[in-house]
């Protein structure tokens, strides 16, 4: 009704946040904001909510942590310790150790995965299918080459030796 657009409200939100920092919370010092709140119901509602949240925070205890010299001493001691760890000779090899252990782990995982894959899916390692068709002994034996016949005479023996020498 007053023609406030999103950008106006955005800018007023920042100004409302400024008001919440004051104790007590007051918008009077910012007459422009007060006028906006009178006209913009959405912002008025948001400001009321923000006021409530400010009240919630107001009664809260501040963290009870006291600064102390002992704390400073502890910090400096742990810095010395961290530096000593970093400059120790073993520290030079530490990244390599970490790398090696990671590599070993990855290799183990890959090997495991590979062996599972080969075991499950490799066709070479599959059991041959059982022959279900009815085949005669003669048919099966015809698939295999006959063994060479035994030489009967001395000449045949000599001939077979020559064949072997010629690579036949």
């Amino acid at each position: 009704m007053f023609g406030w657009n999103e950008k106006d409200c955005y800018n007023y939100q920042a100004r409302m946040e400024d008001c919440l920092g004051a104790a007590p919370i007051a918008i009077e010092p910012d007459p422009e904001l007060a006028a906006h709140l009178r006209g913009c119901g959405k912002c008025r509602e948001a400001f009321t909510a923000a006021e409530r949240s400010a009240r919630l925070f107001a009664g809260v205890e501040k963290p009870d942590v006291q600064p102390s010299e002992a704390f400073v001493t502890r910090v400096m001691a742990s810095i010395r310790e961290a530096e000593a760890n970093l400059s120790a000779p073993a520290a030079v090899w530490r990244p390599l150790e970490v790398l090696a252990s990671r590599f070993a782990l990855v290799s183990a995982v890959v090997l495991l995965a590979l062996s599972v894959f080969l075991g499950e899916f490799s066709p070479a390692l599959r059991q041959p299918d059982v022959v279900t068709s009815t085949t005669t002994g003669a048919e099966v034996s015809s698939d295999w080459p006959e063994p060479p016949a035994q030489p009967a005479t001395q000449d045949e023996v000599l001939m077979s030796l020559v064949d072997v020498d010629n690579g036949i």
Binding site: K62, P67, A82
Partner: protein, 225 residues
């Protein structure tokens, strides 16, 4: 760690407020440079300067006294070890508090803790009383009941803050609990001052929405029926 004599020139004397601030900033820059060159005493001085606010930031976000010091210590060690990479473009404090906020978030992630507070047993009346605990009444004369009410209020607030995202939560805590200015918060988070104000303002709205939801879902609440 190299043993180097203490930094020359002690804390600057205050003239006008702006001058004093400029002198402090200059003194701090000198300390940082000395520390970057391996002067542990200079870093120790920086720790002393920033200890109260660092503890306030970490304490504001973690709220567990035992862990607060451990996390703050870790922040300071981390900062020391990466001090050489700090280019002095921002104030040392801003850089340090940024590390602190990130460390707190890491702490929550690593421990997978959502702050373990339970206000579920509180009655609606108790919840309502929390809202009317008088503001800015610090002092030694608080009664035990008052302290208990504040502890409960803190628990409720912790729970409500859990419903905000990490950045909004940290911003609100830094402002309302740790006492940071909006300008300081904007530096820590690398955001425009106006953006910080608007984000905080909207986060407050969400906080109250969460509070309202709790009131409505409370057993025995008239609004629940």
């Amino acid at each position: 760690m190299r043993s180097v004599p203490k930094v020359e020139g002690k804390q600057p004397l205050a003239g006008s407020r702006t001058e004093a601030r400029a002198a402090e900033a200059d003194y701090e820059r000198r300390l940082v440079r000395e520390a970057q060159n391996g002067n542990a005493a200079a870093y120790e001085e920086l720790v002393r300067i920033h200890q109260p606010r660092l503890l306030a930031v970490v304490g504001g976000i973690l709220r567990r006294n035992q862990d607060v010091e451990d996390v703050a210590q870790q922040v300071l060690v981390k900062a020391y070890l990466s001090l050489k990479r700090f280019d002095l473009r921002s104030a040392f404090g801003t850089w340090l508090y940024k590390i602190a906020v990130n460390e707190c978030w890491d702490y929550f992630r690593k421990k997978k803790v959502r702050r373990m507070v339970y206000e579920a047993d509180l009655s609606e009346e108790q919840l309502r009383q929390m809202e009317v605990v008088p503001a800015h009444t610090g002092g030694a004369s608080r009664s035990r009941e008052d302290a208990a009410a504040r502890a409960q209020q803190r628990q409720l607030l912790d729970r409500l803050l859990d419903e905000l995202d990490e950045t909004d939560r940290s911003m609100l805590v830094m402002k309302e609990v740790s006492g940071f200015t909006v300008e300081e918060i904007s530096e820590v988070f690398g955001l425009n001052v106006n953006t910080v104000k608007v984000r905080m303002f909207r986060a407050r709205g969400r906080l109250v929405e969460a509070y309202e939801r709790r009131l409505k879902t409370r057993p025995g609440s008239p609004r629940n029926s």
